[in-house]
Amino acid sequence: MNMIYFILIPMLLAALAAVLLPERRAFHAAVIGSAVSLGLSLFFLFDYFNKPFLESVNWFVSGGFTFSISFSASNLTLFMASLVSFISLLVLVFSNFYMKKEPQRRYYAEMSLFVFSMLGLVMSNSLLLFYVFWELIGVMSYLLIGFWYQREAPAAAGKKALIFTRIGDLSFFAAVIILFSSAKTLSITGILSSIGSLNHGALIASASLLFIAIISKSAQFPFYTWLVDAMEGPTPVSALLHSATMVAAGAYLLVLMLPLFLSAGFASMIITFGFVTAFIAALLGLKETHLKRILAYSTIESLSFMFIAAATANAGGAIFYLFTHAIFKSLLFFIAGAGFILFGSYDIYKLKSSVKNSGWLYVPALIGFASIAGLPPFMSFFAHLSLSANFTTLDSVVFVLLSFITALFSFRAFFVAFKKSAAPRLKRELSVYVPVLLLSAIALFGGVIMFYFTGIIHTVYYVDIFSMVSMLAAFAGAYTAFELFLNRRLLRQVSAAKNAAIKLSERSFDSIITAFGIAFVSFADIVGRLDEKFISLFSWISNYFMSLGLASKEIQNGDSSTYIAAIFLGLVIVIIIAVMFV
């Protein structure tokens, strides 16, 4: 009837086409697919604005329950679908430039399958279907991070990413089972409306499990290390998965299931975890020198902002920030990627020393990094206003501090790596120009969208003294970065802080996790040896039988003297028994 799943199908077909068509056509398949998906999403969004509907198809039947594949078309889901397909289209266009010399088929097929899964995720109405796509995006992320699998670093990073996110995935799986058993329905709306009848244990259990799921997928503390290592993947992958879409799935689930978390009383826990994660990410970003890893830390921090916004019952703020973040983060990754292809490095200090000028990338970079900091007049300033709308005083104070540090580390990256120039143009390359300029324009002027965003999801914004103070803090951070990293003043005062930051990173969290992993494998070795002993015990039994067989084999050894002896012995025994008992 309404065929909303048509939004998904082009990407699935594109994935098949990418595999079956000649190598050079893979790119075209993917781009055409995502353009069609984008067109369809926008069509549905405008045609069915404020006219939500559901669509479902039976999947399988068991235990008297019909499990169905059901999609929901509402303002929010169609908006998310449009956002995902829009960013995907730009990323795929950019990939034409960045991945020119790489195996095309595998890349575009995996990317298309990813976009297919992500689109399915944002439009799912059934929690089980949501889970299906949730895991699929995790698997595609694993394959894409490990794209250059011949090298150790990407292979290890992909494995780490999937292991960490699978912990969350399986918690999600358990939560789906718990919620389904209690609510007797899988539809998200149905589950939310039955929260009242959930018994307390099930409520806490499912909320905790879902919490683990979202913090692992969205790389929050303590699961954040996988995202930083995921930067080993190709930059377009980082732009699409690890900034704009996949990691945002956690925030999206949080928004969708917000009533569940709030009823379980998890709001303050989420806010606490969010702020802790944000501080850790900001501080670690401050000492990082690899541009992509700095962006990864800033993604972790931005995701925590989304979490905190949602937990303060401000779903609109979270989603608007998600939108803004998708725009400026993918912009920044494009810039970083273009910089790598043009200048040969991601290290901000190498870029500083070897590059004379950044060319036309300078202004978009400024827009991007200023957006991380949330400076006006960019779109993210408005997003910051929106997400802090429901903050308590304590939250706002912490946020002011955070704004300072955020601006500090983002402008550090900017001032070190990018240089203004008197203009020489760099080689024209549409695949890079168009995405970067388009996203820069949106990041620059898009703030005005906030005022209309309520149509999608109820959005509020609140301008008060704290928002002004955080804005000033951000400017202060930018200025400090300017002084420190461009003008190299204030170094002595800062070196103490710098040493503290280095100490923090040395006792790094990652090594704790590695240690835990090693401990577990050693434990497994012990248990394995125990099992071997256990098995050899049973081997003893069967060996005993075997030797019994071998020994009794001797009875039939064909030697007539043995037979005569046996007959004689038997005769004697029979006579004795006969005499004794008869």
Binding site: Y131, V139, L170, I177, F180, A524, R529, F538
Partner: protein
């Protein structure tokens, strides 16, 4: 209407043809004969799915109730699906692997093939037991004679001892059922079983558990498995893990779920506990494995434990999940062991440390390897997922804490991904690697297409077993 007798007839003709071929030295390729038989059987099976099956019942020794009865019961079809198709896909592996005494081997192969299918269509317990034993004993020969040169004999013996123990327990179950219902016929027992006194049902359950826990296998009766799976030729390992272990599942479903559910009802918490213990313990043991074949052998136990949990929960969802997982696991583990066999022939051993970086030189194998590992991990869209979901859902409704079994799945993710990383990813460690050829690619495609099919349309399998309570 397809006669079920033809499932026995075709392999029998094949065996005669093989014997004629050997004794008259006809020099025909044994594999071709077997291939024709299997192709014919597959055709009959799918024909029967479309047109319906017709059973047969001939009284042989009516005094003790031994009659040659074949018929389809509500459980038969999914099991027949795997029993009919997997040996067909496996034939190519046997062709590459078995080089001496081929006639004897393929006769055993056809005996196993016919026996396995016939177990699932037997309507008389004595007949079922005869076919059960035939399948098991053929496999003993396969492991002993064509297995690893040094350890084959010993492992075969260990396998024989344990498997005969399980057959003995099965015989005890059958005899107990007979003495309390007066019949060996499945028809009658299914109707009369509920009137067996509860205490006797517990005894039957005990013996049934011995059988099932040895067959599938489950902790703590799994001792025969690592060595047997390791020493057997790849063909033998696939037959063991894909098919023979499912004999245990079938017995548990048929006798446990359908005939003595009252006994299971009282014991189900304990049974689910045993399954969970297996899942968690084996997940840890598997983490320590450095031998790829042993790794997959242990990991196969985890899914058998999940199937066990699904059936023990006595819920429709659990049983449906168990059946889907059975079919799914058979295809996936067949793929994994066949690929492991290929890897051994390329690198000379099963040790993971001797492999590495194969993705670069063997793209086709790598695609199937990664696919199979992702499938066994339970990625949605592939067949294991729906089975796992239904099993855990069924188990949760009986025993909420059953969800800790998922910790075993988390642990298993680690060693699966490590296997992929250490075998496929990384730098190439040796030269002279050939990728898998066209026929093997076809073999893998066949198996993978079933994995995807069952993953996307699990209803096909679930509807095959409608009629479950």
């Amino acid at each position: 209407m397809i006669y079920l007798l033809s499932f026995l007839l075709l392999p029998f003709i094949g065996i005669i043809a093989l014997m004629v071929n050997t004794f008259l030295k006809c020099r025909m390729r044994e594999e071709k004969i077997v291939g024709v038989v299997i192709a014919g059987t597959v055709a009959i099976f799918f024909g029967g799915l479309a047109l319906g099956f017709k059973g047969i019942s001939i009284d042989l020794v009516s005094k003790i109730g031994f009659s040659f009865s074949l018929g389809i019961n509500s459980l038969s079809l999914p099991f027949m699906l795997i029993a009919v198709i997997i040996p067909g896909a496996l034939l190519y592996t046997a062709y590459k692997e078995i080089k001496d005494n081929k006639a004897f081997f393929y006769i055993l192969y056809l005996i196993t093939y016919a026996s396995l299918i016939s177990v699932f269509i037997s309507y008389n317990f004595i007949l079922l037991f005869i076919f059960w034993e035939a399948a098991v004993l053929s496999l003993f020969f396969i492991i002993s004679f064509w297995g690893d040169k040094d350890t084959g004999r010993a492992s075969g013996m260990k396998f024989l001892v344990f498997t005969q123990l399980s057959s003995l327990a099965l015989l005890a179950v059958i005899l107990l059922l007979f003495s309390y219902t007066g019949s060996f016929s499945l028809y009658s027992i299914l109707q009369l079983a509920s009137s067996i006194p509860l205490l006797i049902q517990y005894v039957i359950l005990f013996f049934l558990l011995v059988t099932v826990m040895i067959k599938m296998p489950l902790f703590p009766l799994h001792a025969w498995m690592p060595d047997s799976y390791l020493s057997a030729p790849t063909t033998g390992t696939v037959l063991l893990s894909s098919l023979l272990s499912k004999l245990g599942v079938y017995a548990f479903l048929l006798i446990g779920f359908e005939m003595i559910p009252a006994a299971i009802l009282h014991a189900r918490i304990i049974l689910i506990g045993i399954g969970l213990l297996t899942v968690l313990y084996i997940a840890v043991v598997a983490t320590s494995q450095r031998n790829l074949k042993k790794l997959f052998s242990y990991s196969s136990m985890i899914y058998m434990a999940m199937i066990f949990i699904g059936i023990s929960s006595l819920t429709t969802a659990g049983a449906d999940g168990a059946i889907v997982l059975t079919v799914s696991h058979s295809f996936i583990i067949a793929m994994l062991f066949i690929l492991t066999g290929t890897l051994k022939s390329r690198s000379g051993s099963y040790e993971i440390s001797s492999m590495g970086g194969y993705g670069a030189k063997m793209p086709a194998l790598s695609v199937f390897f990664v696919f199979a590992v992702l499938a066994v991990m339970g990625v949605p869209g592939l067949s294991n997922f729906v089975g796992e979901f239904l099993v855990f859902f069924g188990a949760y409704s009986v025993l909420p804490i059953a969800l800790i079994g998922l910790i075993g799945v988390i642990i298993s993710t680690n060693y699966y991904l490590s296997a992929i990383k250490n075998v496929i990813f990384g730098r190439l460690s040796r030269a002279g690697l050939r990728d898998i050829g066209k026929l093997e690619t076809l073999q893998m495609l066949l198996l993978s297409s079933f994995v995807v099919l069952v993953g996307v349309l699990p209803n096909l399998i679930i509807s095959m077993s409608r009629g479950l309570i």
